[in-house]
Symmetry: C2
Subunit: 402 residues, 2 copies
């Protein structure tokens, strides 16, 4: 159902149709004008007019004859996903990753900036400007930059809000810093929401319009697509599941709330649990959160009973997070991703046990829980997806289009 309420924010009709044609070509590959007209319920005249403009602008092109339906040969249109590149940037506490992706989400190059500390943020940003500038100069196909930052990200403001893992970054206004810095446009998004876009655009097995991407890593985040719409919130700070309380008598969190989910199943929380288990991982005290978690998962794969038990405890919290997602967002599919998803089937089985017990069966029966098929650092893919999404949705930001 499209709601009345929905239409107030619609783009103009011609923009909408242009975007729908771009999306159709992106999702379905080479198509004839007649096929597009039929799929989108547009008149042939409208298709001819809009595609002429897109061809003139260089966004799409004709492929010459291709085999259409009923074996009739006709002229195809294509949006060549290899012809356009985007730069993706992923910010975490101490890690800034950069990648160049093609429009299909294939990474062409990936690099990391040197480890960032609270004191080196300014120089990291300078280096980022330089690196991005060089990448754009070297590759004329680059059309946009997408950035993924940990939530809560106040998108309409341009800043992340008080969260320990990004404390040093809070003074950075991403919009002011980057939006006019390059010859191509920059788009910034919360990392889990970017991850949801990546799952939706790049994983061919995901076909639902009701998708939740549940990021369980150094932070805990969520991105939700509901009937094809990304849930944003007024400032862009919706779906911050990491700061939804699972226990109003629980542990305090930097956000001001108590019992935040993030305090129980993020990698820092797991690291803390590991340190309380004497001798489970001998040198856990000197490890990063990522290293400690990966050591734990390796132990469990080797059959270590205490490691398995600890992962089950973590999975219970991850499962309660799923239950909140069920009751808050009722998606058809929850994809669990990022570092903690590396615990694999053991985690997933335990999550299912918690869900089976605590969710009404109608929701349980109609919702798939899967582990992300994208790399653990899907937020980098997500940053690429954010840029690609804008390219498909608002082509005039990228081309001269009358």
């Amino acid at each position: 159902m499209t709601n009345t309420i929905a239409n107030a924010t619609l783009a103009s009709v011609s923009e909408t149709n242009r975007s729908r044609i771009m999306q159709h070509l992106y999702q379905h590959g080479i198509s004839s004008r007649a096929q597009i007209a039929k799929a989108l319920d547009l008149t042939p005249a409208a298709i001819t007019k809009i595609t002429a403009k897109l061809i003139e602008a260089g966004a799409i092109k004709e492929t010459g004859d291709f085999e259409g339906r009923k074996n009739r040969r006709s002229i195809g249109l294509t949006l060549d996903t290899a012809e356009f590149h985007v730069i993706a940037v992923k910010f975490a506490r101490s890690l800034v990753q950069l990648g160049v992706f093609d429009l299909a989400g294939k990474p062409l190059t990936v690099q990391e900036l040197p480890q960032v500390t609270e004191d080196t943020i300014d120089s990291a940003i300078m280096q980022l400007h330089d690196t991005i500038g060089s990448l754009i100069e070297a590759d004329r196909r680059i059309i946009a930059i997408g950035m993924a930052v940990p939530g809560p990200y106040l998108r309409s403001v341009g800043r992340t809000a008080v969260v320990s893992s990004m404390r040093g970054w809070q003074k950075v206004n991403f919009i002011h810093e980057f939006s006019n810095a390059f010859t191509v446009p920059v788009f910034v998004e919360q990392d889990a929401r970017a991850g949801a876009m990546a799952q939706y655009l790049f994983d061919p097995t995901i076909t639902t319009e009701n998708l939740a991407y549940y990021l369980v890593g150094e932070g805990v985040g969520l991105g939700v697509i509901d009937h094809g719409n990304i849930i944003n919130g007024a400032l862009g700070a919706a779906t911050e599941i990491g700061h939804v309380s699972i226990d109003i008598n629980g542990k305090p969190c930097d956000c001001g709330n108590v019992g935040c989910l993030e305090r129980y199943c993020s990698t820092p929380a797991i690291h803390e649990m590991i340190l309380k288990e004497d001798d489970l991982i001998a040198d856990a005290g000197t490890m990063t959160h990522l290293q400690a978690c990966r050591a734990l998962f390796a132990l469990a794969r080797g059959g270590d009973k205490r490691a398995i038990a600890l992962i089950k405890r973590v999975a219970r919290y991850v499962g309660f997070g799923c239950i909140t997602i069920f009751n808050s967002f009722n998606p058809s599919q929850i994809v669990i991703g990022d570092i903690v998803a590396e615990a694999g089937q053991l985690l997933l089985d335990e999550v299912h046990k918690v869900i089976d017990k605590h969710v009404i069966h109608e929701l349980n029966d109609t919702t798939a829980i899967t582990l992300s098929a994208l790399p653990a650092d899907a937020a980098l893919n997500g940053a690429a997806a954010v840029a690609i999404n804008q390219f498909l949705d608002h082509p005039p930001q990228f081309f001269e289009l009358s």
Copy 2:
């Protein structure tokens, strides 16, 4: 931002434009074709074509000359909100209310069916068929029926899910029962979501596109409008805040979850708290939940310290619900409605205290918390809003439109 992802579910363009014109006339009153064209960024030719069809179908009409901008007189178009009526039905456990509303949300008549028990549901449904049938026969202006039912309502199935307050109703499939029973179409929606639509359509002071209606009554529910889109979930069971846990070590709930918000601040929960306070309300044991709560609120207004303290305890839970709403949905306004909102400023002040302590200030500073200005049984208004929303959004369901 409209997302790429959003456009896959768009209605055809002509339908969308038709609906936008209907909405414009509904929201702005008498308008000239030129004013509509300008506001909606449509060509005069498109406006002329679409409005001609709407006039022919009887959905809108010309008003003759009216004073346009710049003092030029021109022909106005109007959607006469008094000319169309809808029937609204609100289901609760033992109470079925019916009203006839005009398109502006003004109630013309309201009635109740006799109290319904588990054993009389079948006869209540028969009586409802008869009553609705008679209303339609007596009033040719009635164009649709909206129904509001407690959540979790599985809209795509047509049934409510396991919840104690509707246990007897669970066997009723509202879609099978009513959708083809009358000469006008029937639309069923979860009560809090219907309440959100009512706030949005009928309260002129509400102008945000990011609205949460937080129903705290016999159940606890939520309806959220995000950037103009109602959040539905795959089955229509999203935003079931009443069954989001605030304490994973807390009280068990009929839904299978533990620590559900509904177990702490619904009227049955408050009634239970009242009964534990010796002699606070002498005959509380024989009262309904509604009566007990209203007696409590009256005591508090009279200055009774124990009553005030109890309401503050309730308000703390209501406040934690708000915090979950902030972090899950980031609305610009949360409207608290239904029975518990009758506790008034005392409740609201305490809710603010909890929020001030536990929500990041950027969200707190940009979100208004208000008490509903609609009657306590806003779900009845909501049922009307559901039908009106459909009328504006999908006029072909109501008229012969080519």
